[in-house]
Symmetry: C2
Subunit: 397 residues, 2 copies
């Protein structure tokens, strides 16, 4: 029985690679501090549940394929408040940002077409690009350079005749890098000159800890046909289980083709759309509180990392991740050892080893991604466990 | 800006083609009887809503990528009652049967690979097969032959070195054809001999109006690696808006590759999974009542069609669709005329013209699909409108 070449080229999630060892450690009574998965612990605004409780149609019917007007209008209004206007038909609702990415890649890539993506990047990009027959062309970055990538020279070096798009998470997963307005403009110019789609995966938009305003690739008037925003309620409202996302673009031809995929899967879940529309009713005080909480956590992680001898890390400005190079020979081996051979009073820690975030073989071997999705006291303990683990690991290896 | 070749080869839904004319007709005050869309009017079992109301986790988190145990176990139990046992890891939860089909095609098809599908078929198969780079190789059928397709000779004629799978909806959409146990075995043997996946899209399984037992391609012990069931709660429980489906297969290698796509999109909506698990608590009296209602409707449609001179139709045994050849030159032109130039006391009718259900150019031009999703009185009126429309159309054309 044949498996497709494109499926064989995809991988299982590197974030879940150590799950069996974690189960074993827990069965032995260890407590694991999880910094490995981007599942926030913040409460979902109760608007979500209220809206679902108020639904009273006895038939749970299909919604319209492009999305329900109530949700499209809620998103439209959200962007209006950011100062960027989209027409209703420029917003297509999807089953999470994931379906948005899958549909988009199928709509723009033929076998051999390339997408420029700065590495390290969100590992699931691999599956979306490869399943469409495409190839990821990485932009190299370094821990020492704080993983910044939006330089003219780096972009030009990654470009060739097969290039169709440039895609990035901004604010960045796994790096926490936030593009400056100048960097965003550099990318926009590059896309415009080469007729490339410029795909901003902006699902962490609100999570910025510097002086920056919310920025989006949708803000430029001269790249309307190039720009595509991937959006989601998952992180914005800590509603990962809603599976509600969106593709937003002013490119009409692209939308017409995306609509074929929207129609083929009929619709996005009805109740989740209605409830997600209600999420957009939260006020700015919600985002202020969440941002303040994550900024404290970011500060804690960063400070604790700086105290560990040999760690290379620059202060990240956004999302709820940071990437760092550790003074260990191999982060995979180290993670496994933390689960099988290490504990401090019965406690150990998990992070996501860096290799899976790179397309270039051999890169990221001593790097890790930390998701700071735990409350302050747990986060401090987790970072102390990391420091202690590094020390003990290097004494015994 | 480039659109992919595979997206260009896909089409917008033929079921929605006449939507603009319908809107115009309604704006002029016409009442339209909709037999064009497979959205049932049956009430969703309230278990769905109760389960959601009882959810009290303040964080709406991601579910496990392969699906939530509560739903997997509910489906496992449902099949146990059919006399077919699947292990929990042989059931992968998907966002509707649609995502199941999309993931499956991406997992098994490379460019040029063929899938044998009897035509007429569910039009969205086109998008799922083509977006994976595949080609639909149709098995021809006829209205006079009641659209039956499961004959050894027909299967062999469609086979070649590029064939990877045979796929069918059973009970059939758009034809209402239900495979006999002997026909199902013929297909199983064919798949086994040629090492093909045999994909049974069985989302209408309960909707059968003859003496048959519920049948499934999963019932044969000698094709465990070949058989794949596509399943869904949409029609079974009139819960189309839940977007909950499943891929069920004993083929371990296939599952391992499907899991890559499950992980890439992280999870299926959490509340919809919990609520769908509760749907499986309905007793056999639920299905008996629904089956009885649809059987009455099927009888009404079929009787009314037989009364129209020149219509070719055989009694369908399942789903809630039937396909018929009409005594008109072109069903597309006829449908448009019904919306723009016809009414009887302000009423008109919509169905789905047949051409969009065929892969072979020029086939199905005078055929239509009727979805009998209206209550008896409305259904009778709709069928009378169809008869009257045919008469008047032929008088004026």
């Amino acid at each position: 029985m044949k498996i497709s070449q494109k499926a064989l080229e995809c991988n299982l999630s590197p974030m879940r690679k150590f799950h069996p060892y974690a189960v074993e450690a827990e069965n032995k009574g260890k407590t694991i501090y999880h910094l490995n998965i981007g599942q926030p612990d913040i409460e979902t605004p109760p608007n979500y549940y209220y809206a679902i409780h108020n639904f009273d149609n006895p038939v749970l019917a299909y919604a319209a394929s492009p999305g329900m007007p109530v949700l499209i209008q809620a998103i439209q209004h959200y962007y209006d408040k950011l100062g960027i206007h989209f027409e209703e038909d420029e917003i297509l609702i999807t089953t999470g940002g994931s379906e948005a990415l899958q549909m988009l890649m199928l709509s723009i890539l033929d076998p051999g077409d390339e997408v420029i993506i700065p590495e390290p990047f969100y590992p699931n990009y691999n599956t979306f690009v490869k399943s469409a027959g495409g190839v990821i062309h990485p932009i190299p970055t370094t821990p020492e350079g704080g993983y910044r990538y939006a330089f003219r020279k780096k972009l030009e070096d990654a470009y060739n005749e097969h290039t169709r798009a440039i895609m990035f998470t901004n604010p960045g997963n796994p790096t926490g890098v936030v593009l400056t307005p100048k960097e965003l403009r550099t990318i926009a110019d590059f896309a415009k000159e080469h007729d490339l789609y410029v795909i901003g995966d902006e699902v962490y938009r609100e999570f910025i800890y510097g002086a920056e305003d919310l920025a989006t690739i949708g803000q430029f008037d001269d790249i309307h046909d190039n720009a595509v925003i991937i959006d989601s309620v998952s992180k914005r409202f800590s509603a990962c289980g809603a599976r509600i996302g969106a593709i937003i673009t002013r490119n009409k031809e692209l939308r017409q083709n995306l609509l074929k995929f929207c129609q083929a899967r009929l619709s996005v879940a009805t109740l989740d759309q209605i409830a997600s529309a209600a999420l957009y009713k939260v006020g700015p005080e919600y985002f202020d509180a969440v941002r303040k909480e994550y900024k404290l956590r970011r500060d804690t992680c960063y400070k604790k990392l700086l105290e560990i001898p040999g760690v290379v890390v620059k202060e990240p400005q956004g999302a709820f991740y940071m990437m760092a190079a550790l003074p260990v020979d191999n982060a995979d081996t180290f993670q496994k050892w933390l689960l099988t051979d290490f504990d401090d009073n019965g406690d150990t820690v998990m992070f996501a080893p860096g290799e899976g975030f790179y397309a270039t073989p051999g890169k990221g071997l001593n790097e890790i991604r930390i998701a700071y999705v735990l409350k302050q006291d747990k986060l401090e303990r987790a970072m102390d466990l990391l420091a202690l683990g590094i020390k003990k690991y290097n004494e015994t290896h």
